[in-house]
């Protein structure tokens, strides 16, 4: 982990309440897809944890939804503005487990981390299929970006306004070697039921984001884990659903 000052290069609305921010700075600590950064915002006590969408040289891309006052403030920020980021947080996805034909499943705000993962898997020569799940056509983003990486892309919409009507699980192909997923918990549960094996990215309200405060603990088959430090990625075999 590192505390790095980044400079905003771009901050654009790409879908309703959805923004892409490109930042420049020292990205050395960002080593795996599925990791996140924790962003300090003036006027807010806690940092905002946001997953890494892309990382290339000194450029970091994040995609965030305006869900509260903090992210709403982020949406107002202009190019040139500087932000303090804790980088290299979380365990990230392990691409070694993917097999030759991995399936990536992203739902809504869970789509962004799939991008860097898809990029890495494509670099490793894997044949990648991506399912992008949204509520409706106007919310869709990054379909073309995934295609440009050479991925097979399946889009699902709950209202059927685009692609396959239904949930991400309605878009599952017949065959695939392994599943990587990120999205809201009901979606993760549905994917869990369907997938033989895979890696799942979890969310929780965090205090520090680096394992110090025990704010985001969860129970797993292999003991208590901190979502921020031991996660956010858990393997299927260690997940313990609580409800």
């Amino acid at each position: 982990m590192k505390d790095v000052i980044f400079t905003i290069q771009e901050n654009t609305r790409i879908a309703p309440s959805t923004y892409r921010m490109v930042l420049e700075g020292d990205t050395a600590e960002i080593q795996r897809p599925g990791q996140f950064v924790n962003i300090r915002l003036d006027g807010f006590f806690l940092r905002r944890p946001i997953s890494v969408c892309d990382c290339e040289g000194t450029l970091l891309t994040i995609i965030y939804k305006t869900v509260g006052k903090g992210t709403a403030a982020m949406a107002e920020m202009e190019s040139g503005f500087k932000l303090s980021l804790l980088t290299g947080l979380g365990n990230g996805y392990d691409t070694q487990a993917s097999g030759d034909t991995p399936l990536l499943v992203g739902g809504g705000a869970g789509v962004p981390p799939m991008y860097l993962l898809a990029k890495k898997l494509r670099e490793e020569g894997k044949q990648v299929t991506v399912i992008l799940g949204f509520n409706a056509k106007e919310e869709i983003f990054f379909e073309e970006e995934f295609r440009s990486l050479g991925c097979e892309v399946i889009v699902t919409t709950v209202d059927g306004s685009y692609g396959v009507k239904g949930f991400v699980t309605d878009g599952f192909p017949e065959a695939y070697s392994y599943v990587y997923t990120c999205g809201p918990e009901p979606m993760l549960k549905a994917v869990y039921q369907k997938a033989k094996d895979g890696q799942f990215s979890f969310e929780e309200r965090m205090g520090c984001g680096f394992g110090a405060c025990m704010g985001c603990s969860c129970r797993t088959i292999t003991g208590y884990k901190r979502i921020c430090k031991d996660g956010p990625i858990l393997r299927k075999g260690e997940i313990l659903w609580e409800d």
Partner: protein
């Protein structure tokens, strides 16, 4: 003797900066970031006799100038702390550590304090009688003077090392509790723990924290902490460790003015993991600016 040195219940520490329990784990997350030997010491995660998962999540909520937590004393239990955490800590930390102890009965407090008292690395026992996030223990000892005195005396009798009692601000008269624990044998007093608070989710109309209430920390509580440290420092003779919302070297100096011998820094570690290092570096300069030659005047 360095200008930041201070005597904490008979043990000399290099400076008065002490990361507070619950914000510093057992040290390893921070040892990966900087040499934690620069600290005066640190107070490790509140430890109980048995392992605890703590409360359900969400355990964290934000507010203006701070945060609420309801972690609920998640810890691996005293045996694992001794067999796993302390040996790991010993590799990266070569000073005495402050052992924060919590419990649900007087017997549990005594048991855990006694086990940790025998550990060479442990310099002080900090008795947490003020956790607002657990039911049937913790804070209930810290809100009644007679109970606070009783658990203090029971632990003091069984340990060799200096005993610091950490007080809750969720009381009517803090000096009454402070005097009671000092009379019962406390070698020092640390305060304040978090203030009880809550927040609601506007969309669901329900409390954000699964535990409903939580402890407020961060800059929002700094003036409350100063007031209580001031009251306690004027009411007892034992050294007082001031904490609550400290986030700069200036705050540290202000806490000294309120009567603190040393300070603990809590929530600030979570938003700026390097804050204690920064404060230690800046403190001499801030002391110069306000004409303070020596942290602890003889």
């Amino acid at each position: 003797m360095g200008r930041l040195n201070c005597d904490l219940c008979g043990i000399q520490i290099d400076n008065p900066i002490i990361p507070a329990s619950g914000t510093f784990g057992y040290g390893s997350e921070f040892a990966a970031l900087y040499d934690i030997n620069i600290l005066g010491t640190f107070s490790f995660k509140g430890t109980t006799k048995e392992p605890r998962f703590g409360n359900e999540t969400p355990r964290i909520a934000e507010c203006a100038g701070g945060m609420l937590n309801s972690v609920g004393l998640q810890n691996p239990g005293v045996e694992k702390v001794i067999t796993e955490e302390l040996p790991k800590l010993k590799e990266v930390f070569h000073k005495k550590v402050m052992a924060n102890v919590s419990g649900f009965s007087e017997e549990e407090y005594v048991y855990t304090a006694k086990r940790l008292d025998q550990e060479e690395m442990v310099g002080w026992i900090e008795l947490n009688i003020s956790c607002p996030n657990v039911h049937g223990g913790g804070m209930s000892f810290g809100t009644k003077a007679a109970d606070a005195a009783s658990v203090t005396a029971a632990v003091k009798k069984e340990i060799q090392k200096p005993l610091i009692v950490k007080l809750s601000p969720n009381v009517t008269d803090i000096t009454e509790i402070a005097k009671a624990v000092a009379d019962a044998g406390a070698d020092g007093i640390s305060l304040i723990n978090t203030l009880m608070g809550m927040r609601f989710d506007l969309k669901t109309g329900k409390p954000i924290l699964a535990n409903v209430t939580g402890g407020l920390s961060g800059p929002a509580i700094f003036p409350v902490a100063l007031r209580m440290v001031y009251q306690v420092a004027n009411a007892v003779k034992v050294p007082v460790i001031g904490m609550g919302g400290i986030s700069s070297a200036e705050d540290v100096l202000e806490m000294r003015m309120a009567g603190a011998r040393a300070v603990e820094i809590g929530a600030a570690n979570l938003t700026d993991p390097f804050i204690c290092k920064t404060i230690i570096e800046q403190l001499p300069e801030v002391m110069d600016k306000y004409g303070v030659k020596q942290w602890q005047e003889m």
